[in-house]
Symmetry: C2
Subunit: 189 residues, 2 copies
C-alpha cells in the first residue's frame, strides 16, 4: 500500500470501529469491521496488531473531539459553577439524540469487564480527565471538599449517561436540579 | 429426560447464564454456557427457545434475590430516609467485593443496546421497580417532589454501581453524603 492508501484505510477502520462498537458493542467481529471499512483483513493486521488495538486507537483518536463537545472552550470566562453546569447541559442535549447509547468511554469499560484491556485503559484515562476537570473547577469555585464534589459530579455524569443510554430516563428536568443541589451543598456559588 | 433431570438441567443453565454473563458479558456463546452447565445443546434448546430466552429467564429468576439483598425487610420499621440510606449502604458493601462488576440489570441493558431484547425487558422492569420503591419512600418521607427524588436516587444508584463496577471509584465516603444532600434538599428528614 502507498502511504496515502494506508492512511485512508487506517481512517476508515477507526471510523468503523467507533461507529459499530458504539451501536453494537465491543463483541463486534473483525470481519464486520473490515467489511464496514472496505479494508481487507490482511491490511487491517498490517495497520493494527489486533482488534483490541484497533478499538483502543479508535477511542483514543475520538477523545479530543469528545472532550471538546462536553467542556467549555478554553477562553470561556464564565464562573466555575457555570462551566460545570455547561458540561451537564451538553450531556442532556446529547441524550436527546435517537442514536444515543450513553457515554462510549463508560460503555466500553462495562462491556469489556477487564481493566487491563488496551481499550479499557484508554477509556479509563478519558474519564479520569473529566473528573480532573471537575476537580479543578470545584477548587476554583471554592468547594468545601473539591475531591468529594468531583467524585459526585462524575457519578452524576455516568449515572445520567447510563440511564439515558438505556432509555430509563430522558434526563429532562433531572440533571440541572441535581447538580445545582450538589454545588450548593459544596458551597460553589 | 425425566422431570427431575429437566429441572436440574434448567437450574444449571440458569446458574451458568447468570455467572458467565455477569463475568464475561452477554456475548458469551451457547457452547460455553452449555459446557459450564454440563448440559447438551440439544437439551438446552428443549428447555429454552433461544439463548436470548435463557438469558432473560436467568435475570428474572435472580430478581427477587437481588431485590432482597438491596431493600429493607418488609417488616422494617425505620423511617423512609433510613430505608433509602439502607439501599445505598448495601450498594457500597457489594461494591467492595473483588468480583463486583456493577448492577447486572444495568450492565445487560448497556451491553445489549436493544430495548426490545427479552433480557433488556426483564432488566428494565427490575430497575423500574427500584425506582418505584424510591418513589414510595420519597412520598412517605414527605419529599417536595417525590418523582424528582426517585429519579435522582435511581441516577445515583446507577452511577455508583457503574463507577464501582469499572473500578473508577470505590464509593467510600461518596454515596452517603451524596444521598444525604439530595434527601435534605427534598425535605426528607
Amino acid at each position: 500500500m502507498t502511504t496515502e492508501a494506508k492512511s485512508n484505510s487506517r481512517e476508515r477502520l477507526l471510523e468503523a470501529a467507533a461507529t459499530l462498537t458504539y451501536r453494537d458493542g465491543v463483541s463486534i467481529g473483525v470481519d464486520a469491521l473490515c467489511k464496514a471499512a472496505g479494508v481487507s483483513k490482511r491490511s487491517m493486521y498490517q495497520l493494527f496488531e489486533s482488534k483490541d488495538e484497533l478499538l483502543a486507537a479508535s477511542l483514543k483518536e475520538r477523545a479530543s473531539a469528545y472532550v471538546a463537545t462536553l467542556l467549555p472552550a478554553a477562553d470561556d470566562s464564565r464562573s466555575p459553577r457555570e462551566r460545570i453546569l455547561h458540561v451537564f447541559a451538553q450531556v442532556e442535549s446529547q441524550a436527546g439524540a435517537s442514536d444515543f447509547h450513553g457515554c462510549r468511554y463508560l460503555a466500553v469499560q462495562i462491556e469489556l469487564k477487564d481493566r487491563s484491556h488496551p481499550a479499557s485503559r484508554v477509556a479509563h484515562q478519558v474519564k479520569a480527565n473529566l473528573t480532573s476537570f471537575f476537580r479543578g473547577e470545584a477548587e476554583q469555585g471554592g468547594a468545601a471538599d473539591p475531591d468529594l464534589l468531583a467524585r459526585q459530579l462524575s457519578l452524576v455524569f455516568d449515572g445520567a449517561s447510563a440511564r439515558a443510554g438505556i432509555q430509563a430516563d430522558n434526563l429532562t428536568g433531572l440533571i440541572a436540579p441535581t447538580v445545582t443541589t450538589l454545588l450548593d451543598a459544596a458551597g460553589v456559588r
